[in-house]
Amino acid sequence: MTTTSTTATASGGGARVRVQRFGTFLSGMIMPNIAAFIAWGIITALFIPQGWVGFDGPVEAWQWAGSPILGGGDFDGTTYTGLVGPIINYLLPLLIAFTGGRMVHGHRGGVVGAVAAFGVIIGAEGTVMFLGAMIAGPLTALILKYVEKPWQGKIKPGFEMLVDNFSAGFVAFFASLAAFFWLAPVMKWLTDLLGGAVGWLVETGLIPLASIIVEPAKVLFLNNAINHGVFTPLGTEQSAQTGKSLLFLIEANPGPGLGLLMAITVFGVGAARATAPGAAIIQFLGGIHEVYFPYVLAKPVLILGLIAGGATGVLTNVIFQSGLVAPAAPGSIFAVLFQTAPGSHVGVILSVILAAAVTFVVCMPFLLASRRRDLAAEAAGGDKLAAAIAQTEANKGKKSEHLSNLAARTGAAADGAAPATTAVATAPIQNIVFACDAGMGSSAMGASVLRNKLKKAGIEDVTVTNAAIANLDGTADLVITQQQLTDRAKGMSPNSVHVSVDNFMNAPQYEEVVEMVKSQKEQTE
């Protein structure tokens, strides 16, 4: 723990810590589901009508008349639902809502969150409801948490399941109705508002400013509403008169997304960094922009980079008077080049390159700054049970940083934090994972030492393993890391109890963990 990092956080004030914690929460809700977005992106890039093997695809030889079977639509007299629509409309928002709910109140929180999210999904039909799901999921879980507080721990043994299921069932029921009637209209209103604002910018000629609205709206998955609702009709009109329109490129320019994903690939941390290159391929070549939205939702400040990049792209096309003949769908670099109006290639290609470059450059400082801030916050949080400290800090605000520093220092000598440890472990600890960057050295040593200590204490039914942080799968009950890495570990395994240690060989925390497991065993026996 260094003094510099402590002061850095302290001077930043409570607001920054809160924003940061909110960011971590968003990221925890989105990042575990990235794989689903990528899978959906591949399906979409292939099977929608304008997809690579779609019946209206860009390459004639690849066109497949039966693509609606998977992409959705009519084929051979039958109407197919396909995979594309249901996944984006239902599966992805529900996964997010479930994950958000689970982070707040365990698996049951996830379940009620998913039910409530369905209310807003159906209530706002026609609009992809990620934002609604991100609100409804965790909020409903929070409601459940408070609703059942009065009788928690007071149920007669044998009736817990019954009471738990019915209380959650009723909360989910009411929340889904509330989401349907109250949340959905608000979300729909927001969509209309954004569409209207963009229309106004087009009319008044302040078009590069449109990016200020378009980029955030895209990330909230309102991209199709805006592109097809506003730009496609206006652009088609323009194109019919002048042979081209730059409106087609405002939303579909793949540059900003590419710049963002490249920036994350280079400067990001953890899971985001590891998955960004793959997402970039799907986004830039496949034309499915949705795959980069989660990264922004997880770190909203990056929207500034997208706005700057988007506006740069639009401005480039204004200067070069370049545009597309028809909408580029999907928004892949190939589709864009395919639709570029004769003589517009220089401007269009430049608009993509400059947009990517500007986004990359603007995102860079934010990524670097927050990277340092994450580490600083972690260092200031002390080396005690990270979960406990986070809780205390949340309760007490900024002051507790000093308290926890103090506690960490005294606790390392005396065994002061043992009561706190026991309090934190609400779920039985059966599966302990030591994590480090590579999963090769430090974590293996730590795991051996703790395994040995548990064995000496006569505890045999607890597994202790080691892993690379990037390979944490979220199933560990307890995750132990060096304190600088705890933040990353939390991101990968948000539902585990996290312990930070300074000294892998004989950390005082080991005794606490052994005590905790022991007392938990005694309770159950």
Binding site: D437, S442, M505
Partner: protein, 144 residues
Amino acid sequence: MSVLEIGQVRIHAGSATQEEALQEATDILVAAGAVTPAYVDAMRQREETVSTFMGNGLAIPHGTNETKEAILASGLSVVRYDGGVDWAGEQATFVIGIAGRGDEHLEILSQIAILFSDEDDVAKLNAAQTPDEVFALLSAVNEA
């Protein structure tokens, strides 16, 4: 070839800088055919993010998750610096370089961990006069 051979254990009377210690660990591992010379950069990179100082005078330099291609086979290097090495502000006596491929190094590593977590054993390791004695101490637990 086993993960740790007698030739991979050394004792130095003086002290060294962390940089020298990383280089020596890499040299030993290169000689053992465990890593490419580029591994020293991987080690440096890892120390920049998080120190590999483990406590009880032990540092275990190794690469990062992203630099695993520099590893050809699993191997360990063990060097005792009686003058100590300044390891990011901590005093390291034993510098054990690790090249891990798969799981074959984990067993001995875990024995080393248990050995180093016991202060009596650490004292024995520090008192050992020759590399052979150190090697014997490390190997003895391996067989037990």
